[in-house]
Subunit: 183 residues, 2 copies
Amino acid sequence: MIILVDQDGPLADFEEEWLNRWREKYPDEFYIDHVDREDFYIHDQYPKHLRAQVDAVYHAPGFYRNLPVVKGCQEAMFEMLDMGIDVRICTAPLPAYQNCVLEKYEWIEEHLGMEFVLRTIIAPDKTLVRGDILLDDKPTVKGSMKPTWEHVLYTSPYNRRITDQKRLTWDNWKEVLLPMLKK
Amino acid sequence: MIILVDQDGPLADFEEEWLNRWREKYPDEFYIDHVDREDFYIHDQYPKHLRAQVDAVYHAPGFYRNLPVVKGCQEAMFEMLDMGIDVRICTAPLPAYQNCVLEKYEWIEEHLGMEFVLRTIIAPDKTLVRGDILLDDKPTVKGSMKPTWEHVLYTSPYNRRITDQKRLTWDNWKEVLLPMLKK
């Protein structure tokens, strides 16, 4: 049993870090609270005249390196390994890879250790990666192939409208995943 | 049809850069000519008392960034794309990822362009990546699963002893690959 776990969203809190930096840098500017996030890409939900600034925040050196850890993910990742599940981190890099790729590895080493560095796959197209389950907060994960995995949503405000997929958070992951393992 | 192409060996000349740096840094020290290379890992073919120095050469900042381009690989990679083959670069990082990962991306962008940056998969275990063919100079590519791909060797001195697999270089790739596509 292979579970592929996306990095930004299920493990690293991109949204939290982004909004903190945005509000610090532009305290008087328009912003959207976490609960009101509707589009997967922050960029798409902000007015056009702000989008270059929106992108600059997550392109900055240190952004990916400093993402907060999503509560409960570390315990869950190691518990899955202990259960004999082949857990892999499967993450798509920004096309502007200059800061993001190295910082993703550094983040994983700090918060999950070398064991998970060696379990990390960087893949722009996740349909090329084999697995039974992909845990990902992105509402729709598309690529060039029919995937081998079933996409389980990591619940986030911007994917709440999806109703035809299993979903979980680290508070209830066992209830959702364990029955899938028994199949 | 998906062809996964390994980076170091088929595209980037790790061996050439390593030996040039070794001879420059230690002009009076023991070395092995390209034609006499027998073990896949350079480390394994050098005397034990030199191995820390051997490793330091390819761990150094700038090593991966400056690897020479293997002659003919650029034309072949784009010709395969033009033929409708879904070509991906599939590379395993050093566990000491600090310089190697970012420099691999920079190398690909410089020598093959953003089109191939977006076609790059970084995977320590290549058996988790789907494809029809894996072109790799490593004599044996193992992992946790039975691969979907057939391993075709990119010919190098250290894999010449393997006799039960297809092999090619960029001088004769069409003779080997095109009949495989027609199946």
